[in-house]
Symmetry: C2
Subunit: 141 residues, 2 copies
């Protein structure tokens, strides 16, 4: 059911400072900066051999990443595993007594359609399922 580690999110207080740290100390990049108004957060991501590392700065005090930051401080926020079909994967989790935060998938950044498992029931880790939805081509003309 899980194909690969699609992305890993780290919550940070200051996106710009964290990006500089990663660029200098770990020699990674280039970064793409993306806003994600649904959360709301500001993100910076780079890719390593198919896996996105996403730095996430909350822009409010009430979203899941903001609450994580308040409770645990900066650091790992979630791991997202790619699946072929998010609805089927949600169904499998439910049938095997997994506990979901999102019983119906919700939009992530770009064309990512995601569903989070409840971390208390998943040994403390926020585990996410993600499907990259095909984007229909722009109509011509």
């Amino acid at each position: 059911m899980l194909k690969r580690v699609h992305h890993i999110n780290f919550v940070v207080r200051n996106l710009e400072a964290a990006v500089k740290h990663y660029q200098n100390v770990l020699a990674v990049g280039p970064f793409e900066i993306l806003e994600h108004p649904h959360r709301p957060v500001k993100t910076a991501r780079f890719q390593l051999d198919g896996t996105w590392i996403v730095l996430v700065q909350p822009l409010d005090n009430d979203s899941a990443p903001a609450r994580h930051l308040q409770k645990y401080g900066e650091g790992f926020f979630l791991i997202s595993y790619e699946v072929d079909d998010i609805d089927n994967a949600i169904q499998h989790v439910k049938e095997n007594d997994g506990v979901l935060v999102d019983e119906i998938s919700r939009p992530g950044i770009l064309n990512w359609q995601v569903a989070d498992l409840d971390s208390d029931s998943a040994y403390g880790a926020t585990v996410q399922l993600v499907e990259e939805k095909k984007i229909p081509p722009e109509p011509e003309g």
Copy 2:
């Protein structure tokens, strides 16, 4: 410098229960069970498209994973990025004002040679560098 996400460690209290959860709810496996006497911990790992997911149960109260479990509870413990040459990577981190827990690399499980960065200086995430050392072939005869 970083080639890929080599492994991600999650600390758990009960390895057997966590393995069952992953097998049932996320339909992953097979798991390899490995002891790591240097820490000391017991680990179970499975691989997804080249990245190891490692569940770690501390066997003492004083190791880094045990202290992480006491402080934060179960969940994400560290992300390990593969490098070609661990000594060169350590040197790069030092020259760019990164802070290392391991100024000299130390043995991980199997042929993994690792060095951890200090999490307070790395935006709360425990970031590790890892080189898979070539194992010399067994002498014949």
